[in-house]
Symmetry: C2
Subunit: 406 residues, 2 copies
C-alpha cells in the first residue's frame, strides 16, 4: 500500500459519539504503518479547502480518551456540500483546490464522518480523485442519531440518543406520576423524516415507564383518532404520556407543524414559535379541556455525554478504526457498515452510492396496527444498542471535556 498522510473531517449535525469515531480513526492512524501524519480538517470540507488542519499525530492518550466522550463535533462541523459533476470538465473549482491541498499535504487516506449528505460528498471526492488518477483511499464513517442510513444495521450515535430518550422518558414518567390527578404530557422527540428516535421511547418499558402512545412520522397522523386515544387513557389512568416524532404528518403529507386549520386558522397563526408537541398541546387543551404540558427533548438528545451507551461508544470507535483498516487494505469509495450476525456486530463496507442521500425509515413490523405505539419486536432490535454505561470523569462537579484548539 501507498504510504502517506491521513485526513479526517466531520460533517452535519453532531452526535454524542461523533468524537469516538474520530478517536477510533486517529488511534488506528497513529499506529498504522502506511500512515505518517494524522490530520483533522477543521469544519469539514471547508477546512480542507482552506487548509485549516489540526495535527493529531502526537496527541496524548489522555487527551484522546477524554475526546472520545466529549460531545459536539470536536473538529468543527460544516453544512457545506460539494456540487455535482458528470465529467472532469464540469467539476467545480472546489475539486481542483481539494486536489491541490491533497497533493501539498500528501493526503492518501481521507475519511469523512457524517450522514447521508456527507456520504454523497465523500462519494464525489472519491470519484473526482479517481478521474484525475490521484491515488487516494476514501472511506465514509456513518454517524447520525436519526438511524436513517440504509444498509448498516444501525448508525453510531443512535444507541446513545435512544438511551437518553428512554431514560428521560422514564424519569418524566416517574415525575408526572407524582400526582393522582395528572396531566396529558406530550414529549417531542427529534426525527423529521424517520421515527427511529421516537420509537426509542418504547425502551422505557424496560422499567415499566413506557409512554402510553407513540407517534412516528412514518404513519399518517389522524388528529381525531389521537384525541379519542388520549381521552380514553385519561379517563382510565388520570394521566397520559405521549411520545411524538417532530416530523409527524397528516394523511395529506403535511407536517403537523403547519397544521393551521384546526378550530380556527387564527388560533395557529404563530406555529413557528413552537414545535409539534405544542401544537398537540393546544389541540388537546382546546378540545378535551384537559391539563396538558409539552416537553421538547431538543439538543440534549445528541449531546448528553453523561448518559452514553457503552455499546454505542465502542461501536462508534470501531467504525472509525475500521475505516482506516479497510482503506489501508486498498478499499476506497465505501462507507463502513455494521452487520448483525448471531447477535454480534461485524464491520464491513458498502458502496457510498448505496447510501448517499437515501433514507431508511422504521419498518412496519416495528409499528403496531393502530399506529399509535411500537411493537415488542422493536425492543429486540434496539435493546442491545443501549447496553452498558460509561462512567465519565468529573472535575469539580462537572464532566471533564477536551477541546481541540481550532
Amino acid at each position: 500500500m501507498i504510504k502517506g498522510n491521513m485526513l479526517i473531517g466531520q460533517s452535519g449535525g453532531p452526535t454524542a459519539v461523533i468524537n469516538a469515531s474520530l478517536v477510533g480513526a486517529i488511534k488506528e492512524g497513529i499506529n498504522n504503518p502506511n500512515i505518517e501524519k494524522v490530520y483533522g480538517a477543521i469544519n469539514g470540507v471547508a477546512g480542507v479547502l482552506s487548509e485549516v488542519f489540526y495535527d493529531f499525530t502526537t496527541e496524548s492518550e489522555e487527551n484522546l480518551e477524554l475526546l472520545k466522550i466529549t460531545p459536539g463535533a470536536a473538529l468543527g462541523s460544516v453544512r457545506y456540500y460539494l456540487p455535482d459533476f458528470t465529467s472532469l470538465a464540469s467539476a467545480s473549482y472546489d475539486y481542483e483546490r481539494l486536489l491541490e491541498v491533497f497533493k501539498k499535504y500528501n493526503i492518501r487516506y481521507f475519511y469523512y464522518i457524517g450522514g447521508n449528505d456527507s456520504m454523497d460528498t465523500c462519494n464525489k471526492i472519491s470519484r473526482y480523485l479517481e478521474l484525475v488518477n490521484y491515488e487516494a483511499y476514501v472511506i465514509g464513517i456513518p454517524k447520525t442519531i436519526d438511524n436513517d442510513l440504509p444498509i448498516t444495521d444501525h448508525t453510531p450515535g443512535y444507541g446513545s440518543a435512544i438511551k437518553y430518550v428512554a431514560t428521560t422518558m422514564s424519569q418524566i414518567n416517574l415525575d408526572t406520576s407524582s400526582y393522582k390527578e395528572g396531566r396529558v404530557t406530550i414529549v417531542e422527540i427529534m426525527g423529521r423524516d424517520a421515527g427511529w428516535l421516537a420509537a426509542g421511547a418504547k425502551l422505557a418499558s424496560i422499567n415499566n415507564s413506557a409512554p402510553d402512545l407513540i407517534y412516528l412520522p412514518e404513519c399518517a397522523f389522524d388528529v381525531d383518532k389521537f384525541l379519542v386515544d388520549v381521552e380514553k387513557i385519561y379517563k382510565e389512568k388520570r394521566k397520559v404520556l405521549v411520545a411524538v416524532g417532530e416530523g409527524i404528518k397528516t394523511k395529506d403529507g403535511e407536517y403537523l407543524l403547519k397544521y393551521r386549520h384546526f378550530k380556527s386558522a387564527d388560533s395557529f397563526g404563530h406555529l413557528q414559535l413552537g414545535g409539534v408537541a405544542q401544537v398537540l398541546c393546544e389541540i388537546v387543551g382546546q378540545t378535551l379541556h384537559l391539563p396538558v404540558r409539552s416537553i421538547e427533548l431538543n439538543l440534549p438528545q445528541r449531546c448528553a455525554s453523561t448518559l452514553l451507551s457503552k455499546t454505542d461508544v465502542e461501536e462508534a470507535f470501531e467504525v472509525g478504526r475500521h475505516a482506516v483498516i479497510f482503506s489501508t487494505a486498498g478499499i476506497t469509495d465505501k462507507m463502513v457498515i455494521m452487520k448483525r450476525v448471531n447477535n454480534k456486530i461485524v464491520y464491513d463496507v458498502t458502496d457510498l452510492s448505496n447510501v448517499a442521500k437515501l433514507i431508511k425509515t422504521v419498518p412496519s413490523e416495528f409499528i403496531n396496527e393502530e399506529q399509535n405505539n411500537i411493537t415488542d419486536k422493536f425492543l429486540d432490535y434496539a435493546m442491545p444498542l443501549i447496553k452498558g454505561e460509561i462512567i465519565v470523569p468529573f472535575e469539580n462537579g462537572l464532566p471533564k471535556v477536551y477541546r481541540v484548539k481550532k
Copy 2:
C-alpha cells in the same frame, strides 16, 4: 419521649432527591426506639385524611437504597393545602378528621416534605394539634429545586438541579460550537420568582462552557439592552449562548411571557404556545435577523436521577434523618435547616412560621452590575452543592427504579 408511630408525606413539585429525604426519615424511624410503625401517607395530606398509608416498617434495605435515587415523589404528592384558622372553632373539618386519623393510628411523629406552602400546612397541623392538646411532634423537611426557602443555606434538590443545568449547558455549548457560523441559542431554565436555577448555568464556567448572558427574574429585563448585548457578542463570536429564568419580568413587573407589544400585538397573539425563550427567539429573529434556537430544559431539571449531586443526595438524606432525630428529642413545629459553618453543613431547625409562604431571592452580590450575568461570588456559594456523583444502578440499559405500591 412518648412512644408511637410516625407518618411522613410529600407535597408540592418533586425534586430528584425528594425520596432521599424520605428514605433518611424512614431509616431513622425504623431504628429509633421511640417509633414503632413507619407510615407513609399516599399523596400527602390527602392520604392522611383518607387513611391511605404505606407501611415502611419492614421495608428491605435494597428497596430503600433504590428508592433513595428514584425520581418523582414516591409516595405521591398533592397540591392540597389546609385552610387557615384562628381558633379551634374556626378550624375546618379537615383538622378534626386529621386528629381522628392520628388517634386511630397513634401518630405521634409527623413529617412533611415540601416547599414554603407545605411548611405552612405543616405549621397549621402543628398549631391545631397543640390547641387540642394532642401530643405530637411535627417537623417540616425542606425540598425544592428552586432554592427559594429562607433561613436554610440552601434546599435539598437544588444541588442536583443546578448540576443538571450546568452540565446540560456545557453539553449544549459544545454541541452548538460545532459550527463556525453558529446561532443565538436561548436556554430557558425553571424559576418563576427566583433565579437560583438560572444562576446555576454559571457553573458551566468550571469547564469553560458558561453561557455568554444570564438573566434572572430578580432584575428588570430590558429588551433593548438584551438585543444590544446579543448583537455585540454575535459579531465577535458568531454565536451566543443565553440562559434565562422562566420568570423574567419587564421593569413594570410584567412577565415577559405576557409581553405582547413588541413589534405588533398580532405577532405575539399566541404566547401560551411557548415559554419565555421562544418569546426572546422571536424578538431576536425579527429584530436582529440572526439564526436563533430556543431550548427549554423543562422537567428533567427536577427528575434527572442519572445526574445527581452526591452532596445533594447525602444532604437530603440527612435532612430527613434529622427531622426524626429532632422530633424524638422533643422538638416540634420546626423545619430542618442547613447552616454552612466553616464550609461544612450543620443541621439545625427554625420555626415553621419563619419559612411558611416566604421566598428567598438571589442576592445582588451574585448578580453583575450590568444585570446580564452572574458573579464569581456565586460560584463560591454553589460549587460545593454539585460536588460528587452517584453511580446509579442500570439494568438492561436503563436506570433501575423502585416504585412504592400506591
